[in-house]
């Protein structure tokens, strides 16, 4: 199996705190699979996710330790993304590793401009290419039929579920290797949640998914691998089925069965 990302003894400390929030995490993220991170609030799962595209760097004063290796498409050559210093390297990284947030975050512009925003940033100017890529991305996010007649309307007018699919389309349009999902359905109703989950299962044909979720049923439905985190440690990592049916650690079992968390 090909690797997409691998962390090695990765630790992370927020500014003005003494204790590390993540302590020596080693987790493999396999290419074209869905890996879920579960665990109670404050366990560090979002912190780990947000380290993978260095979005922490938007705020000053964080410190990273260890390595996060990002592999190329063949799963052979890897670079340690924590060594990136220049803004340009971070921009390239973020175009390779997209991110979807808890709440839908459409930009205050039209539906079409939302999709083409990242494409234009990456230097594509040709209008037909932009339009084609918009259509492909919206189809990929199962949103095309709903919005094809109002591409120039404001994205703020879409429903919550549509907005979240727009955000996925926007990220997919850049053809990233990896998509990070930070509890993407926590603000959505069950029907929209189902459509996002279906979409995530589709997406893994083309890219790698790392998803943080509070919802254990969701993790068991959509993921191939699951990592259980607790107080900044990766307690257990395995094939999703094993984690949910045969956990090795007592802590994992307690959490899965709802005894705490």
């Amino acid at each position: 199996m090909k690797l997409a990302i691998q962390t090695k003894d990765f630790s992370f400390t927020y500014p003005k705190t003494k204790e590390a929030t993540l302590k020596g995490i080693n987790i493999p993220i396999y290419a074209n699979k869905v890996t879920a991170l579960i665990g109670p609030s404050g366990c560090g799962k979002s912190t780990l996710l947000r380290s993978c595209n260095r979005i922490h760097d938007v705020y000053p004063g964080n410190s990273y330790d260890g390595e996060i290796l990002l592999y190329d498409n063949n799963g052979e050559k890897a670079e340690n993304i924590l060594q990136y210093k220049k803004e340009n390297d971070l921009i390239n990284l973020r175009q390779r590793i997209g991110m979807i947030f808890q709440k839908p975050t459409p930009f205050p512009m039209s539906i079409k401009d939302n999709i083409t925003y990242g494409l234009k940033l990456s230097g594509i100017k040709n209008k037909t290419e932009l339009l084609d890529r918009t259509e492909i991305a919206l189809k990929g996010a199962a949103l095309w039929e709903e919005v094809k007649d109002r591409l120039n309307n404001s994205a703020m007018g879409l429903s919550g579920g549509q907005q979240q699919r727009l955000c996925i389309a926007r990220a997919v349009a850049l053809k990233p290797q990896v998509l990070l999902f930070d509890e993407p359905t926590s603000a959505l109703d069950p029907i929209s949640t189902a459509s996002i989950e279906a979409l995530i299962s589709e997406l893994k044909n083309e890219l790698t998914v790392l998803i943080v979720t509070h919802n254990m049923q969701q993790a068991s439905r959509i993921s191939d691998y699951t990592g259980f985190m607790y107080l900044g440690d990766l307690v257990e990592y395995d094939v999703t089925e094993t984690i949910f049916l045969n956990p090795k650690e007592k802590k994992t079992e307690d959490y899965i069965t709802g005894r705490f968390g």
């Binding site: 595209n53 979005i55 938007v58 000053p60 004063g61 803004e87 921009i91 390239n92 973020r94 175009q95 997209g98 991110m99 947030f101 808890q102 709440k103 975050t105 930009f107 205050p108 512009m109 925003y117 990242g118 940033l121 990456s122 404001s154 703020m156 007018g157 955000c167 926007r170 990220a171 850049l174």
Partner: protein, 285 residues
Amino acid sequence: MLFNRFFRGLSHTSAWLVLTILFAIIIVLFHYSKSAIGDFGFFHFITNSKWIVGNDGNGGNFGGLIPILGTFLSSLIAMVFAIPIAMGIAIFLTEIAPEFLKAPVGIAVELLAAIPSIIYGMWGLFYFGPLLQSWFGGQSNSLLTAGVVLGIMVIPFMAALSRDAMNTTPSVLVESAYSMGATRYEVIKDIVFPFAKKGIIGSVILSLGRALGETMAVAFLIGGVFRFPDSLTSATISIPVLIANNFGEAGNLQLSAMFYMALILFIISFFTITIAKFYFLRKTD
């Protein structure tokens, strides 16, 4: 129960008091300016550039063109000067400044806003006006000096309001732009600015309202002469300065003409503030 009714009555009275004062001001302005309105009409008054006191001290030929122009032009210069600098400060404070600089610079901006306008006036009169004169020629007390100092005066106000508007941009929106590979400049240009646009426009209009009505600093700096400004560096007069300078010795009709000017200033400021409120209150679609 009694207490309840007492407070209800008190808060009602307070609220109505504001409206009463507003209407009282309009009525008084209108009442005293009636004879000037009768004599000069509206269009004739605002297009007449003369301000001549009659021989007996009571009559005369009064027109508002020059002070209206002086008010607008000095405020316009103030805005042209203040907007880029205020936006720079606001962007610096919200997106660029490191944490340890945000608080001191923010406090400095608020302190600037608290300086009484007469101090700006004196500073402009003794230092800044001569400096501008040595650069651009003309007179040291001029439209330009008044406008630029007015601009400096409203910068803190405008910067603070714009900063607050920009701070309302949700951090996830900013993060998601970064996560698309945007640079800091692109995030500010494409996300923060459009998101805070209405608040920023509101801050500009509110600042304009302050600049239009400012008396003390402008009285020091605009020259106070009733003359058509043929260049930026020539002295002229604005509505508040005209009123402040001539109130003491004015005869009946001149007094009425000044009330008329005050009424016009009131209407101008009232409309500016109304537009600002309209922008502030309007919901994003």
